[in-house]
């Protein structure tokens, strides 16, 4: 059990590289705090239940906590601590009022000490200050990328894989917690190793208690702020750990063509166990039809919106012919088979794209020249084992001459800027909204990005009129040159 204020020094001495790993990854709106900062002890966690779901290739955590203001004044700043190496991998952190789930999520920002410190905080702004003695139930959800590691880290081609997950039995908290428990849901009942805590829990029973594929650590009473009880579990997971280091997604709006063109470029890797020996094509081919569980990524299925057409799938070599497209009005399905099965630590980068009718994505605002565009922020493959994205860059290329661009993104965006993209038939270039997000998981697929922009009719005629002016000046030039008298003798 370690107290929160001692953590920075211990970790700064032992794990300087972890702090560095975060420094290279920009997180949204950082607030730099002094290294002596300790969250004011104005809250108390009355009851906390933490659920960790390990069914997919990334843990998804949901912490439901009843917080109580123990200060004498109303408070609205609730701190949520994470270790520096962990906070750089936390994605999609959302905090909501559990009793009023229809409301917008609370405003959340990342704070940090200095780069040397090991503990960083998410600062949650409660929408209304909590009165002294009052309680509020909040739900905190987030996913952690690159959190499961294969153990052993090299296996035979068709061997079963086990992965290790390390966490703390005590939920990370900057405040004293009166009562808490951690439930871990595995996707399997085959869990060869897990930490058994020698002391009994607050109910006097074994810790953890096991019920099928769910383990419960706790309940624990009166855990001080910053306390941690490391636990680990190793369980069967013979599936790929699909990890995209980068996804670039371009969404191009064409008013003239009535078209929405989408292109996605993936840099995929598989975090599963590496192959102990060389890849055996013979063994692979022999087991192909039996289809046993494997750590290799064989196919990717992209459910696309209905009405999607003209798909393509290319990589560095060129067109990849092992793809199938099933168009449909309600939903289209793009099934891709990469050139080779992607085993642990192997990489594959490729590009896919398709077109859609703009009608379903763009509406005209009743007054003025405004338009509103609603497109999925992320589409990507739908895999049972899930997929995590280290970095997602979405570019929305608007028509040339669009102005006054506003957006709402469904995921926390770390950077947004409007740049100019120049392509065919452009004169001044197209305004492009560029959004970057980190640590995104596939649960966010189909969440919509909404963009409004003004597109005056004068701007829309820029392209044909530019071409017309060019051709027109050619005609004038022909007429002028044709009228030049080049005869040697005088005009008769």
């Amino acid at each position: 059990m370690r107290l929160l204020h001692s953590l920075p020094t211990i970790f700064a001495l032992t794990l300087p590289s972890l702090a560095d790993s975060n420094a290279s990854k920009p997180l949204s709106s950082k607030q730099i705090l002094s290294s002596t900062f300790k969250p004011p002890q104005v809250f108390e966690n009355v009851n906390l239940v933490r659920n960790v779901n390990l069914e997919k290739g990334y843990p998804r955590e949901m912490i439901n906590v009843v917080i109580k203001n123990v200060d004498s004044t109303a408070q609205s700043k609730y701190y949520l601590p994470f270790e520096a190496d962990l906070i750089a991998r936390v994605g999609g952190l959302e905090v909501r009022d559990k009793k009023n789930t229809g409301k917008d999520a609370f405003k959340v920002e990342v704070t940090e000490f200095d780069t040397e410190s090991s503990t960083e905080f998410y600062l949650v702004h409660l929408p209304e200050p909590l009165a002294p003695g009052a309680e509020l139930t909040i739900g905190i959800t987030f996913a952690v990328t690159a959190a499961l590691n294969p153990l052993p880290d090299t296996i035979d081609q068709m061997a079963q894989q086990t992965v290790q997950y390390i966490t703390s039995a005590y939920s990370p908290s900057a405040y004293k917690t009166l009562k808490q428990k951690t439930k871990i849901k595995f996707g399997t009942i085959s869990i060869p190793d897990y930490t058994v805590i020698p002391n009994k829990n607050a109910d006097g029973s074994e810790d953890p208690t096991r019920q099928g594929s769910t383990f419960t650590y706790g309940p624990y009473d009166d855990i001080p702020a910053g306390a941690s009880q490391p636990i680990a579990a190793r369980y069967d997971y013979t599936k790929p750990l699909v990890h995209a280091t980068l996804l670039e997604r371009d969404i191009e709006v064409s008013h003239w063509g009535g078209n929405l063109a989408i292109e996605e470029r993936y840099w995929l890797t598989n975090r599963a166990a590496k192959l102990k020996n060389h890849f055996s094509r013979v063994q692979w081919q022999m087991t192909k039809y039996a289809n046993p569980p494997s750590t290799a990524l064989k196919t990717l299925q992209f459910p696309l919106k209905g009405g999607s057409v003209n798909p393509y799938f290319t990589d560095d070599i060129g067109n990849v012919s092992t793809s199938r497209f099933r168009p449909g009005k309600a939903q289209a399905l793009l099934e891709l088979t990469p050139r080779y099965p992607i085993f642990g630590d192997w990489k594959y980068s490729f590009k896919i794209g398709w077109d859609a009718d703009l009608k379903g994505f763009l509406r005209r605002v009743s007054k003025g020249d405004g338009y509103v565009l609603k497109v999925p922020f992320l589409e990507g493959p739908k895999l049972a084992e899930g997929i995590e994205y280290e970095k997602v860059e979405v570019r929305v290329i608007l028509p040339e001459g669009a102005q006054n661009v506003k957006y709402t993104a469904p995921v926390p965006v770390i950077n947004s800027e409007i740049t100019t993209h120049r392509t065919f038939m452009d004169t001044v270039g197209r305004p492009t909204l560029q959004l970057s997000a980190i640590n995104v998981v596939d649960e966010w697929r189909d969440e919509d990005l909404i963009i409004t922009y003004d597109y005056p009719w004068t701007a829309s005629y820029r392209k044909p009129l530019t071409i017309a002016a060019a051709v027109g000046s050619l005609f004038v030039a022909i007429w002028v040159i044709g009228n030049i008298d080049t005869r040697i003798g005088g005009r008769k």
Binding site: D104, E252, S254, H255, W256, G257, G258, N259, A261, N310, D355, D357, L358, K359, G360, L362, R363, R364, V365, S366, G370, Y371, V372, K374, K406, Y407, T408, T423, F424, M425, D426, I450, I451, T452, K463, P464, L465, T466, I467, A468, A469, A470, V471, G472, L474, F475, V476, I478, W479, G482, N483
Partner: protein, 78 residues
């Protein structure tokens, strides 16, 4: 619910529809380019100050719009 979601919902009645649908872009582009070609040919045969506005300007406008539609029809959505 965000403000922009409300803007989206309010605009439900007016989905975007292009002047010519995707299916007719090739036809429109081809017709306009043919007009441009014919008018340019006639202009090339009688070049004068009078035929400039009558033939050359309509030809260049037809070429401008026709080119945009033809480029869209062949898959480069400008």
């Amino acid at each position: 619910m965000s403000d922009l979601q409300q803007v989206w919902d309010a605009a439900k009645a007016s989905p975007f529809s292009p002047t010519f649908s995707k299916d007719s872009q090739f036809l429109v582009g081809a017709v306009l380019l043919t007009i441009a070609f014919v008018l340019s040919g006639v202009f090339a045969l009688n070049r004068s100050l009078a035929t400039l506005p009558v033939l050359a300007i309509p030809a260049s406008l037809a070429f401008g719009f026709g080119a945009v539609y033809m480029i869209c029809a062949v898959g480069v959505n400008v």
